[in-house]
């Protein structure tokens, strides 16, 4: 009985892991052309400062932001249009790609409290 249960459990666990969207930077690059019109090819959005810099931002934050635009937890007409056709996999890939871009100008506020 145990001998059957263990492989079954292993199979189940690996099946569910494979199901979760695994971020693919290269695939994200292929899908990023529409994003570049506003956020630029380097992800720094120096074309128009009303759009945020994405290069070097945390991957999981970028994915969260895209999901929020999709669910309507963030209302933005432009982004709503772009995220509507995106799958979970697309979102993970795009987030991974922009997070991976070098030359990002974003910083956290660590050590910038006072007197620096």
């Amino acid at each position: 009985m145990k001998r059957i249960l263990v492989p079954l459990l292993i199979a189940l666990v690996s099946a569910s892991a494979a199901h979760a969207a695994k971020p693919d930077i290269e695939a994200g690059k292929q899908k990023s052309a529409p994003c570049q019109a506003c956020h630029s090819a380097d992800g720094n959005a120096d074309i128009d400062p009303q759009y945020p810099r994405l290069a070097g931002q945390y991957r999981d934050y970028l994915a969260q932001a895209l999901r929020e635009y999709k669910k309507g937890n963030r209302t933005n007409l432009i982004m709503a249009g772009f995220v509507a056709p995106l799958s979970d996999q697309d979102i993970e890939d795009l987030a991974a790609y922009f997070a991976s871009l070098p030359g990002g100008k974003l910083v956290d506020l660590h050590d910038r409290v006072q007197g620096d």
């Binding site: 959005a45 009303q50 999981d60 969260q64 937890n73 974003l106 910083v107 660590h110 910038r112 409290v113």
Partner: protein, 107 residues
Amino acid sequence: MTRALLLAAIGLSFASLPCAAAEKGDAAAGKTKAYTCHGCHGITGWKNPYPNYHVPKIGGQHYEYLVAALTEYRNGERAHPTMQAQGESLSDADIRDIAAYLSSLTP
């Protein structure tokens, strides 16, 4: 003469309108007002719980975007309880000052 004056007046009113709207914040004042932001955005790798994801890097972000994002949190157009509460405590001038400070930071 009247026509010239009228045109000048129209020109002036147009010139002053966008200027008033785009009055940029004060980075020095923003540095003090951004003190609370450090609680989450000042700890490298800090995560938001439920759902679990990194609190974003906001230093060096574009001024215009930061003003828009903070205003959207304040207006409830972005759903995030902590950021909405922060936004509600800020005036338009506070938002512009904080955005001016944050956008001035470099890696």
